[in-house]
Every structure is written in C-alpha cells, then in structure tokens.
C-alpha cells in the first residue's frame, strides 16, 4: 500500500460518512412521519444511503493500510474520525426540516455522483453511477415535497422557510474542499466541488422559487465536518449507532 492512496481513502470516507450519518438520522424517523407512505419513503431513502455508505466503505477497506472493514469504519471510529458534512448530523425537526435537509443533500449528490460516474477511478465511477439513479429519485421526492409545503398553507410555508433558514448555514460544508480533494480533482478522480456547487445552487434556487421560499442571505456558514470538527450533535448520534457493536465486538446475526 502506497501513501499515494491515502487521499483517496479520506475522500471515500467523506463520501461514505455523509451517507451513513444521514441514514442514521432518517432511520430515527421511521414510524414518526406524517403518513404511512412517508414512513415507507424515509425507510427506503435511508436504506439507499446506507447501501451507498457500505459501497464506499468496502472500497476504502481495500486500500486502507490498516485493513479496516466496513464495520470498523462505521462502528469503531470516534467523532473526530468522521468526515461527514455537518449538515447530515443535524438533529431531526419537523417534516419540513426533514425535506429541506434531504433537498440540500440530494441537490448536492446528484451533480456529485454524475461527475463521479465519469471518474478516472473506475471503481468509484461504478459506485457513483449506481448511486446517481437513487439520488435523482430522492431529489424528485424531496423537491416535490418542498414545493408542496412551501407553496402550501401559511403554516407549511412558515415552517419550510424556517427549516431552510436554519439548515442553510450547514450547506457550504458539503463543498469544503482541501488539499486532499484538490489533488484528486486535478487527476480526474474526485468531483470538482466548485462545479458541483454551481449545479447545487441552481437546483436549490429553482426549487425555492417554485416553493415561494426566500433564499437565506446571512453569509455565515458552519464548516469543519470534512476534517472532523463537528457540531455537538454527532457526538450524541454515534453512541446510538455504535453501542451494540462496541458492547458485543464481532457480534453477528
């Protein structure tokens, strides 16, 4: 194993961690959604994200100098060793907040996976091409609901606008690149964050317009997730996610 592969390892963990942590948050909502169809939807979306996380972790495990497995990545790392964007670890709120968070993630993942499906790394391209089909479907669902809610009653509009205002400050962390990603972008392996961001901005702006929502103007953004500096919420999420594996190491069904 060469050190040249370490940036790719970090990149794969960032991709995997976004999906694992979001899957956990969505899983918390199963049986708490406003209607049965949305309980089924949230479980399906969570499962897609969990599957994507596993695919990125499986690949990461193959190039990891420590030879860690999917379970090791998911269950035995601590807060500072997770590289998900801070958006996905935010606690659940109302249905509007769930759909706004999902919209922001989907609007990011569609162009991300589309770019990665043409990656010079064939393994990464294959995982992304599969995930892209799922992300497009998720975006149809989340953007459809945001438009329905934003362009709905006064109450649903108020809540959707509040969710957008609250969660928007965590959106730029999705695109927070560093030298790790710059090197991979230069060689056509990673997606160019600026290019993904441009499509994300167009998508979110179009949905907001259709939903009669106002795009937030406060420039403050909370960054840090990509290098392991998280909001307080991840530290509370991980024990719930990891306790069984840590209490019973190696447990299997």
């Amino acid at each position: 194993m060469t050190r040249d592969q370490l940036p790719l390892l970090t990149y794969l963990l960032r991709l995997g961690d976004d999906n694992l942590i979001l899957a956990q948050r969505l899983g918390e909502l199963i049986a708490s959604m406003p209607e049965l169809e949305e309980d089924i939807a949230v479980a399906n979306v969570a499962l897609d994200h969990l599957g994507q996380a596993r695919n990125f972790y499986a690949y990461a495990g193959e190039i990891d100098p420590e030879g860690r497995s999917e379970d090791d990545f998911a269950m035995l790392r601590s807060e500072r060793e997770f590289f998900n964007a801070v958006l996905v670890e935010q606690p659940n709120g109302d249905f509007a907040a769930t759909m706004i968070r999902q919209l922001l993630v989907d609007a990011y993942q569609v162009p991300l996976y589309q770019a990665l499906s043409a990656s010079n790394d064939e393994r990464l391209a294959g995982i992304a091409a599969k995930a892209l089909k799922e992300a497009r479907y998720h975006l149809e669902h989340s953007s459809g609901w945001v438009i329905t809610l934003g362009d709905g009653t006064d109450e649903s509009h108020r809540r959707t606008q509040a969710a957008l205002d609250t969660l928007w400050i965590f959106s730029a962390d999705l695109f927070a690149a560093d030298q790790v990603e710059d090197a991979l972008t230069a060689t056509g392996v990673a997606a160019d964050p600026a290019r993904v961001r441009a499509v994300f901005d167009t998508t979110v702006t179009e949905v907001a317009a259709a939903a009669r929502l106002t795009m937030p103007t406060d420039p403050y953004q909370r960054l840090g997730g990509r290098t392991g500096y998280h909001t307080t919420h991840l530290g509370h999420l991980l024990p719930e996610l990891q306790w069984l594996h840590r209490a019973h190491p190696g447990a299997t069904w």
Partner: protein, 190 residues
C-alpha cells in the same frame, strides 16, 4: 469438451446460478432479473461469478450471494468466488421478457423499457464521451415528474395513479387502479 461427465460445463453452471430465485420476488430468477453478469472458471479452477446489485442498499444481495454459492456447491463446485460488479450500472431494461411476464402474474406492474428513453435524463453522460470527473454537462430535474399511467397488472386498465414513489422494497413504487379498485406495486424503471 466434457470428457468427464461429472464435471459441470460453464453452460451448466450458468444455468445453476441463473436459476437461483430472488428472495423478495420469489418467482423471478437471477437470470430473469439480469443481475447475473457472468460465470467463468479461471486458470486456478475457481468458479468466478459476477453479480450486480439492483440498488446500492438492496438487503437481498448477501442472501443471493449465499444462495448462488450453495447452488454451485450442490452442482459439485468447491472453489467459488463471487464478485460484486457495479459498472455498467444495472438497469431494469435487463429484466427479460419472461421476468416481466412473471411479475405481471404476481400482481406487480413490470418496468417499462428506458431504451429508447422515456426519460430524457435517465442515462446521464452515457453518450457524450466525457472523461474524468471534472467535465461534461450535468442535467438536473426538480419537482415531481408526470409519468404516463402504469397499466394495472390485474385488469389491464390504464386508469391508474401513483400513491407513493416508494413501496414495500427499494425497487417498487405503489400505485392504484381506479377501474378494479386494487392497489398494486410497480417495479420502478431505473
């Protein structure tokens, strides 16, 4: 080619693996679904099976791999390797005509063909020759799409509507038929 009749041929192994059923759609086999990519024997005598998942998180994948291993074991194979292959990504277009007929008999509306495309951006970047993750056009569609009505698998009526984008498994959406008043699953086109 078969000097020793007790050694299965590649064709036999392909049939054995292809006849394994999907646990969530029991009448359908791996061959029907188009998720069995290939069965080959490498120069070490290992039977190498390539499978492709339908969805990233399909919970049936591990079960299917175990079943393929078990079926090949029963056919006399001892050295087996199963590779999960992602590229090119599985599409419902690979489901065979027989698979579609089995779905309809099981009360599931089969997916329509994407090729020729019924969805302008269903196959992004496939034909524009882009190379590397930093070039090529990116198309994004927002909001709920209007889809042509899915024919009811029970009565054939097209007086149907979508109840939910998501259904009992990752691969299905929920619809209802206004003619026979029955709800039904639709195997989503991807």
């Amino acid at each position: 080619m078969t000097a020793m009749t007790d050694i299965p041929t590649i064709e036999q192994l392909q049939r054995v693996a292809g006849e394994v059923c999907d646990p969530e759609l029991p009448p359908l086999t791996l061959a029907d679904l188009g998720i069995l990519r290939s069965v080959e024997i490498d120069d070490q005598g290992v039977v190498v099976v390539q499978l492709t998942p339908t969805y990233s998180g399909c919970p049936a994948v591990a079960w299917i791999e175990d079943e393929v291993r078990r079926a090949l074991n029963s056919a006399g194979c001892t050295k087996i390797r199963i590779d999960r292959v992602f590229s090119p990504a599985w599409t419902t277009d690979w489901i065979t005509a027989e698979g579609r007929a089995k779905m309809t008999s099981a009360g599931i509306a089969p997916p329509r063909m994407l090729t020729p495309s019924i969805d302008a951006d269903a196959q992004p970047g496939a034909a524009n020759g882009e190379s590397g993750a930093t070039s090529g056009p990116i198309a994004v569609t927002i909001g709920r799409r209007v889809r042509t009505a899915v024919p009811c698998p029970r009565c054939g009526s097209t007086d149907t509507s979508e109840i939910s984008l998501f259904g009992s498994t990752a691969c299905k959406a929920l619809h209802r038929c206004s003619a026979c008043s029955e709800p039904f699953d639709h195997f989503k086109e991807i």
